[in-house]
């Protein structure tokens, strides 16, 4: 069954999938990787973003990606509120480790039940001109349903990387992730910076949700399926490294695609997590970890 066409197509499909995985993992990369806040509720907010996009798309026939972009300020605000509650209730008291985890676990269920109450449990899908179509470049076929999310994912990663590397607030976020005490001694308020960073991480959820509903039908509880995957990508890439997150997402995407094509799809997840274990054994801080 092996052919170079098949191999090339599998690699390209893996890159497309990786671009999407990067988009859904960026929020965790910021909140968990940079701020050390294990926001396990993040995937359900991606689903919430997908539902918000679905609602706007159904009402106004707006392009899903554009709708996702429009929701980013709202999700930023939501992130700010959630972090404030988390900080006041847990982080300030130094009880963020276990109780904080329980807080986000609770948040996950509350958000999930809210979605069920608002939209019911039926699957939701949208229509867009690029769903179900593909373009061919020589022997390689590119599914636009995955190609568009991949491009958006790559742009989102680039934008976040530039923000963190080039802007004042971005540098402050990097600083707070390295040494918040030193930042405080410089006269900056680490809590304010962390609030902005958490809001930023949450803002990526609406766009990631838009990408998700372009690729697959959604239902309220499917966020749980992504918890393991997004944390694995963040850890493999190296905590807090945006470029590392993209690299890890691409590696897992390509590994999944190659396994699905040549060795049987059942092994895809096992191979992905095998790579994670192997990488961590050799390099415990992740591929691009400090």
């Amino acid at each position: 069954m092996f052919s170079f066409d098949l191999l090339a197509n599998a690699v390209v499909a893996g890159i497309l999938l990786g671009g999407f995985y990067a988009a859904v993992s960026l929020g965790i990369s910021v909140t968990f990787g940079l701020l050390d806040v294990a926001n396990i509720a993040h995937p359900v907010f991606i689903i919430a973003g997908a539902y918000a996009v679905y609602a706007v798309h159904t009402a106004f026939a707006l392009d899903p990606i554009l709708a996702g972009l429009l929701f980013t300020p709202l999700f930023y605000g939501l992130g700010v509120v959630i972090y404030r509650i988390y900080y006041v209730s847990f982080e300030r008291a130094g009880e963020q480790s276990l109780r904080g985890l329980v807080f986000f676990f609770g948040l996950l269920f509350i958000a999930e039940v809210s979605l069920i109450l608002a939209y019911g449990v039926d699957y939701r899908m949208i229509e867009a001109p690029y769903i179900g179509r593909s373009v061919s470049i020589g022997p390689i076929g590119i599914s636009l349903r995955l190609g568009v999310p991949c491009v958006v994912g790559l742009l989102l990663t680039l934008a976040l990387h530039l923000f963190l590397a080039k802007t004042f607030y971005g540098k402050a976020i990097m600083a707070v992730s390295q040494d918040s005490l030193a930042l405080r001694l410089m006269g900056a308020n680490p809590i304010q910076i962390k609030t902005i960073a958490f809001g930023l991480g949450m803002a990526t959820a609406s766009l990631a949700g838009a990408l998700l509903i372009v690729i697959v039908p959604i239902e309220p509880s499917m966020g749980r399926e992504y918890i393991g995957r997004v944390f694995a990508i963040t850890v493999l890439g190296g905590m807090g490294s945006i470029g590392g997150t993209l690299a890890a997402a691409l590696i897992l995407g390509v590994a999944e695609s190659l396994t699905s094509t040549f060795s049987g799809p059942s092994w895809a997840l096992a191979v992905s997590f095998g790579i994670l274990l192997l990488a961590l054994a050799v390099r415990p801080s992740g591929l691009f970890g400090r």
Binding site: V121, E127, G132, R133, P217, S260, S266, L269
Partner: protein, 425 residues
């Protein structure tokens, strides 16, 4: 004296009142016992991957309960449901049914929706000798042969095999002869059973297997799988998939350009209005299993009245707006149990179980008679083809002509458009 006399009267009045209350309580006791509700317990997927179907099934069952109660209940007792959300997690099912039986003390249990959620109930009901009505389980009783398990899906005495039998019969009937087949499905109980049956049936159809692989249920991108299938150039592609996978497969097939001569088989979800109205013409040509479709050959008494009631409430409850797939069967399952309890004139498990084994039942999905393993004594799995779908308008799926029945011949309502690519034109 007056005070004393009055006091004496009070004492006698009190004694009289107490005696009267006691006699009234004794007199009313049998009445209140007779009117105590008949409780039916179950777990149902109200959240999780199968919730869309589970909630629709619950709505159908509640329509049945309300109708029965309006007509005086069962055995003169009002019917009451006790149910819990199984979250589509098989691991939560044993706890739910133990609670239903030991704490809630329900009179009967029925299953939740689907093979994976029925499997964990089997040991519990077998241990306690209880009747269990199953809702769309594929071959759950295959290894147990438990006498009081009754499954409403019309898969017949050999459920795993019957599920795909018509599909491969159709493949075998084509001229020139089809030679190769690709099989794929999710790593879960139902697809595994369906694929096991398919492997048996394809031998009789004389097909050679060129691809036979399963995928994890959490798969996001199906294009590598479909591309690998396409590379083997099969004449027939048989897929046993759950709703999101079915959508992924159909979209990926269009993106990759997979066009075997016969495509479909056991794809759950394509029967739902939600997907039909989004996939639209992309469904054309697919040949898939089904259990009931709005074709003239399947217009059973009561089905339209039920669907009218269901559809009136479906939008409000956020479930499938047409309800062609599971709701009529959930309703029929309760009809069968209700008729058995009334027929046996008892809520005794053995009496009802024996009645279920012996009798036939009139339901909105036709006449139901169970065979020795609790499946229908004669199979009625339909093989339908999606045809002439234009656009994504919901109304077109409500009536006949879009999912025509190809097999069994007795229910046939249209002809196959062959090969698959021809139906896409």
């Amino acid at each position: 004296m007056v005070r004393k006399g009055t006091g004496g009267m009070h004492v006698w009045a009190l004694v009289g009142a107490l005696l009267g209350a006691l006699m009234l309580a004794i007199a009313l006791a049998p009445v209140s016992q007779a009117a105590s509700p008949l409780r039916i317990g179950f777990g149902m997927a109200l959240t999780g991957g199968l919730a869309a179907n589970g909630k629709a099934a619950l709505l159908a069952m509640e329509i049945w309960r309300d109708e029965v109660n309006k007509n005086g209940g069962l055995l003169g007792r009002p019917v009451e449901f006790v149910y819990y959300d199984d979250q589509t997690k098989p691991a939560s099912v044993p706890g739910i049914y133990t609670k239903l039986l030991d704490i809630d003390k329900v009179d009967f249990v029925v299953s939740g929706y689907g093979t994976n959620l029925i499997a964990p109930v089997m040991p519990i009901v077998i241990e306690r000798n209880l009747v269990l009505m199953g809702l769309f389980g594929l071959a759950n009783n295959e290894k147990f042969n438990y006498p009081y398990y009754f499954q409403i899906g019309p898969n017949g005495p050999e459920p795993a095999k019957e599920f795909s039998k018509a599909f491969f019969e159709l493949a075998a009937a084509q001229n020139p002869k089809l030679r190769t087949v690709a099989l794929t499905g999710a790593d879960a109980e139902f697809p595994h059973s369906a694929l096991t049956g398919a492997r048996e049936n394809l031998k009789q159809a004389g097909l050679e297997v060129v691809y036979d692989r399963t995928y994890p249920p959490t798969t996001t991108d199906f294009t590598p799988i479909v591309r690998a299938i396409k590379a083997t150039n099969p004449d027939v592609v048989f897929v046993a998939s759950y709703p999101p996978d079915s959508v992924g497969m159909v979209l990926a097939a269009h993106e990759v350009g997979l066009q075997p001569k016969l495509f479909g088989g056991g794809m759950v979800g394509l029967q739902f209005a939600t997907f039909q109205t989004k996939l639209g013409p992309k469904l054309n040509g697919l040949v898939n299993y089904d259990f009931w479709v709005p074709e003239p050959t399947l217009n059973f008494p009561g089905i339209n009245e039920f669907l009218k009631k269901y559809q009136a409430q479906a939008e409000k409850q956020g479930v499938d707006p047409l309800g062609h797939y599971l709701p009529p069967w959930a309703y029929a399952m309760m009809q069968v149990l209700g008729q058995a309890i009334e027929g046996a004139k008892s809520a005794d498990q053995k009496a009802v179980g024996e009645y279920l084994r012996a009798q036939a039942f009139d339901t909105i999905v036709g006449k139901v008679k169970f065979g020795s393993n609790g499946e229908w004594d004669k199979p009625r799995v339909l093989l339908v083809q999606y045809q002439n779908i234009q656009g994504t308008d919901l109304g077109q799926f409500a009536g006949p002509g879009k999912r025509v029945v190809l097999l069994p011949a007795v229910w046939k309502s249209g002809s196959l458009i062959y090969p698959y690519a021809e139906a896409l034109k």
